[in-house]
């Protein structure tokens, strides 16, 4: 009897152990499974495409790969618990009320994390979230995260959780401007299910979304400091303004990053070396540099190999002038396209994802986005949120960032704008991420070259660069290699010149003859007429 109990106990322990092992393996494997983001419409007229992009970048910055598909393109069994760790239903255009039976069936069966963003909650979703929902129309709402709060800039129709269920957890809350006593939950989490009224464009609401997602996916995230990033720095930026800005930032002790673009050609010109000189100055003043791929234009797009080669050329020409980017910065759509990811983003350990530019209704995109897009994760992905998105927030220093965040500031156009920016920075009292103090370690490896950054120290091919300015004269006055003429070209060149001289000679002789002939002719003509007259 006692032995039997012992045996059962032993079996139980083994089973438990196996179960635990199973679950740990699953937990490890789960990290690699993507989150499926299903949206009803991009709703370009109301900037829904930007909300979608923001959601994708937010997920990426939390280390979650995203698989995005439009509701109408969804086909049965795309969503399986074994393939996805979560599903996010995003409703951008509630008025249309798009439905897809296959998706709803698969979602009901799905056992992973389920998050709903926007209105249009289905019955099963309502049931799992519990509580009571209420639609707010045209109300001035304030969103709160701890002490920090911000007025929502859009007053569109919002579905909010009015009375939450007993087991529900609230992430942030909303208050009404007119009736401060009333408050609603912002993000709601009930077990595996979650709800968000919107992603929005306001800093605090984006942060709350990040916080809720981190909680839902059980990511152990501590609040992080944001990275101050100046975007839109180009070789055509006024260099004295850029230098002034760097001076202001470093004298006030703000660590910062620059998101720069470079040029592929003309890197032998003095103008390029002037640009790199300022960038080196930024590096020495405590700034780090993210290289951004240039703007895509025209009707043709580069393929992966061409893109990689252009990017490699840009990196090499910057590296030759000791401008050593620590990572790559790109608009969100670069992480939705396979070849852009592979060519430009993947080589970097730190990828800063900036917001997309707003699509225009009347403009046809040059290349159609695939039906299903996959956003990849990188060792560290940073979501870029415009610093302006926090402008209306109060207690900005109390805002908590659970995702890796960069706050983006557009390169100021003149001195007054620089001064205004400095005032804004001082007013916000935000604490910024410092690459040196916070021990930032990055690497960027493309081709045979690797650039590394370790808390203030730059490494090229694992060799520490002690002085960024050393031997600078050598490459500033780079002698251009003489263009090698082919044998054929030289012959043709010579032939052109020879013929030139030949014809010049013939021309002269002919002119001489012409003058001679004219004289003879004149003499004849005058004598003849003279004879006639005579």
């Amino acid at each position: 009897m006692w032995r039997k109990g012992y045996l059962w106990g032993f079996l139980l322990i083994i089973l438990l152990l196996l179960g635990v092992k199973q679950s740990t393996i699953q937990a490890e494997a789960a990290d690699q499974r993507p989150v499926m983001l299903v949206y009803d419409s991009k709703n370009i007229a109301e900037h829904g495409d930007l909300d979608l992009d923001c959601c994708q970048r937010l997920l990426t910055s939390l280390g979650l790969p995203v698989k995005t598909v439009q509701l109408s393109q969804y086909h049965a069994h795309l969503l399986e618990t074994s393939h996805c760790q979560g599903v996010i239903t995003m409703v951008n255009w509630a008025q249309v009320n798009s439905r897809n039976q296959a998706f709803e069936r698969d979602r009901a069966r799905f056992t992973g994390v389920k998050l709903h963003i926007g209105s249009g909650l289905q019955t099963d979703e309502r049931k799992s979230l519990g509580g009571h929902f209420k639609t707010l129309v045209h109300q001035q709402l304030k969103v709160h995260q701890g002490q920090a709060n911000q007025l929502l800039s859009t007053n569109k129709t919002l579905l909010v959780n009015d009375k939450r269920a007993g087991n529900a957890m609230s992430v942030g809350w909303l208050t009404n401007q007119n009736m401060p006593a009333e408050s609603y939950s912002y993000g709601v989490k009930v077990g595996n299910a979650g709800f968000l009224p919107e992603i929005g464009t306001d800093g605090v609401s984006i942060n709350l979304a990040g916080q809720l997602i981190a909680k839902l996916f059980k990511l152990d995230r501590q609040p992080q400091l944001p990275l101050l990033t100046i975007t839109g720095v180009t070789p055509y930026t006024k260099m004295n303004h850029l230098k002034h800005l760097i001076d202001c930032l470093s004298s006030q002790g703000y660590p910062f990053a620059l998101s720069i673009v470079s040029v592929e050609s003309n890197t032998d010109l003095a103008a390029f070396h002037r640009y790199t000189k300022i960038l080196r100055y930024a590096e020495k003043s405590g700034g780090v540099i993210f290289l951004s791929p240039s703007t895509e234009t025209g009707t043709q797009r580069l393929n992966e190999a061409q893109l990689r080669s252009v990017f490699q050329t840009e990196l090499a020409s910057l590296g030759a002038d000791r401008v050593l980017p620590i990572g790559v910065s790109a608009p969100g759509y670069w992480n939705r396209s396979q070849r852009r990811q592979a060519a430009v983003l993947s080589p970097a350990s730190h990828v800063l994802l900036r917001p997309d530019t707003h699509l225009k209704l009347e403009e046809k995109p040059v290349e159609a986005e695939p039906v299903v897009t996959n956003s990849q994760v990188f060792p560290t992905s940073i979501v870029g949120i415009p610093f302006d998105a926090f402008e209306t927030a109060t207690y900005q220093n109390k805002i908590q960032f659970f995702q890796s965040t960069a706050l983006l500031v557009k390169m100021p156009a003149d001195t007054t704008e620089i001064n205004r920016l400095m005032q804004r920075l001082q007013g916000s009292k935000l604490r910024w991420f410092d690459p040196v103090r916070d021990q930032l370690e990055t690497s960027l490896k493309i081709g045979t070259v690797s650039y590394e950054y370790q808390a203030g120290q730059y490494l090229v091919n694992h060799q520490v660069v002690f002085d960024l300015d050393a031997d600078i004269e050598n490459f500033a006055t780079d002698a251009k290699p003489a263009e090698s003429d082919s044998w054929m070209n030289r012959v043709i060149q010579w032939q052109s010149h020879a013929l030139l001289w030949l014809f010049a000679g013939i021309g002269l002789v002919l002119t001489g003859l012409l003058v001679l002939g004219w004289r003879i002719y004149r003499r004849k003509f005058i004598r003849n007429s003279g004879q006639k007259k005579g």
Binding site: Y236, S262, A270, S294, T295, R301, Q495, L500, L510, F525
Partner: protein, 481 residues
């Protein structure tokens, strides 16, 4: 030899037209068709003519079928040029005989083709006359080698303006020659000449530069004896031509104007110097814009700052104008010479860059070009000297030859050569004066479009000279056709 020639049933004109019809017809009508593919210039022109691409065409392939708009088109004929007229005729024929919804590019090819054959007939008649001796047939053969060259005829199956420029130049010179030869008054020839001249000015904004040549050629006609009725109208005709030139030069969209202005500097001034930063010394442009050296207004795929972005407009394009550019070039003549030589290098390259000539078929790579009937363009592109100075000297030498004829002709009863002088002077003025104007106005961008008239005028001068030599008009005054 003479016997063989005289036995021939066909006159040189018929021979030339039939030969061209066969050579060109086979190339442009037989499937898979040949033509030039889009290098980005088609879209606006097609849209104003109610035509659109049916699907995203892969670059470097010729497309045969386009869509025809069925409903209201807000930019219908927004930018009316002589070329639009031809396209509209082709669209009309297509609607009548083919389809209301689909446009077959061969209808455009056919309109050009019939215009072209007429042009060939007029030119051959003007150059060769009606003689049936061996030398006439030899001359005919040389002309066919030039006019049927695929570099020109491939334009027919495309929306490039060069097709019409080429055809109208054939008419222009052909009519001028015919008027000079048949000095008996023929009003229709004169009407034809001026019609061709006005249409030619209207093809593209760059063809308005041909006004110099056209005015001089028009001299040769107005100076003919026994044209008293026309003498009074010299002023009227000249004013009409100048007005046509002005209209054409200003008949461009703001976007094209901005493009020309941008490329005149980035692909002109900046390209000619190794220290482009110096532009900052004489203008308010930031020296960093030197990095735009060589950039086109519509960069292929990838650029640091878009040329049409507000930033570029505000900090770059707004800070210079044509007079500044001319002052810059006069201050640095060396740079201008460099660009002139660059233009000379490209003059005889007749095919547009970044285009293919073939339709997409299995196992066919993009940007492939056909070598069919391209002896003339190959020889001219490879062996013709590539300096601007040579063109000037050649022009001078030819003018000396005809100048002697002019003086000689003062007394002679045969004054053909005397009028040929004006004709050749007109053509050569295009050769000498158009390249500098093109560089100042457009830079080195799109050279093929801008300098094609130069190449055609130069070749036509050569043909006139050759025909005069072969028919012994220059030195022995006999054998007048």
């Amino acid at each position: 030899m003479k016997k063989i020639g005289q036995l021939s049933k066909f006159s040189p004109v018929t021979t030339a037209v039939v030969a061209c019809a066969l050579i060109v017809g086979w190339l442009i009508f037989m499937a898979p068709i040949h033509g030039y593919s889009d290098n980005g210039d088609f879209q606006y022109l097609m849209a104003t003519n109610d035509i659109y691409s049916l699907h995203q065409a892969k670059a470097g392939y010729v497309v045969q079928h386009y869509g025809l708009m069925k409903y209201y088109n807000p930019i219908h004929l927004d930018h009316l040029t002589a070329q639009s007229v031809v396209i509209q005729i082709a669209v009309g024929l297509n609607r009548l005989f083919n389809s209301q919804t689909q446009f077959d590019i061969r209808f455009l090819g056919m309109v050009y083709y019939s215009l072209y054959l007429g042009g060939v007939g007029v030119l051959v008649k003007g150059l060769v006359g009606t003689g049936r001796k061996f030398r006439h047939y030899l001359m005919t053969m040389i002309i066919v080698l030039f006019v049927a060259d695929s570099s020109f005829t491939l334009y027919f199956n495309s929306f490039y303006p060069q097709a019409l420029t080429f055809i109208l130049l054939l008419y222009l010179v052909g009519f001028a020659l015919l008027i000079i030869h048949y000095r008996a008054e023929n009003k229709w020839l004169v009407v034809g000449f001026y019609l061709a001249a006005i249409l030619l000015l209207m093809v593209h904004e760059s063809t308005s530069l041909l006004i110099v040549g056209i005015l001089i050629m028009s001299m040769s006609i107005l100076l003919l004896p026994g044209r008293q009725w026309i003498h009074g109208s010299v002023a009227v005709i000249t004013v009409a031509l100048l007005f046509g030139c002005w209209v054409s030069a200003n008949n461009i969209t703001p976007e094209v104007r901005a493009m020309n202005k941008y490329q005149a500097v980035t692909q002109g001034k900046l390209l000619a110097t190794s220290q482009p930063e110096e532009i900052a010394k004489t203008s308010h442009i930031d020296e960093q814009f030197a990095l735009m050296k060589g950039q086109s207004y519509y960069p292929t795929a990838y650029t640091a700052v878009k040329p049409d972005a507000d930033y570029t407009q505000q900090h770059f394009s707004r800070h210079y104008d044509l007079s500044w550019l001319i002052r810059e070039y006069t201050a640095y003549p060396q740079q201008f010479n460099l660009l002139l030589d660059k233009s000379a290098k490209n003059t005889m390259i007749l095919r547009p860059k970044l285009t293919g000539t073939q339709e997409k078929t299995a196992g066919n790579k993009p940007f492939q070009t056909t070598h069919y009937f391209s002896l003339f363009s190959y020889v001219a592109g490879t062996y013709y000297p590539k300096t601007y100075g040579f063109n000037c000297l050649l022009a001078f030498a030819i003018l000396v030859i005809y100048g002697s004829g002019l003086l000689h002709g003062l007394k002679q009863t045969n004054q053909t050569v005397r009028y040929h002088f004006w004709l050749v002077l007109g053509l050569l003025s295009v050769v000498v004066l158009v390249p500098p104007a093109v560089i100042v106005l457009y830079g080195t961008a799109n050279f093929v479009t801008h300098t094609l008239p130069v190449a055609v005028c130069l070749s036509l001068t050569g043909l006139i000279l050759m025909s005069d030599v072969l028919q012994h008009r220059l030195w022995r005054n006999q054998d007048v056709a």
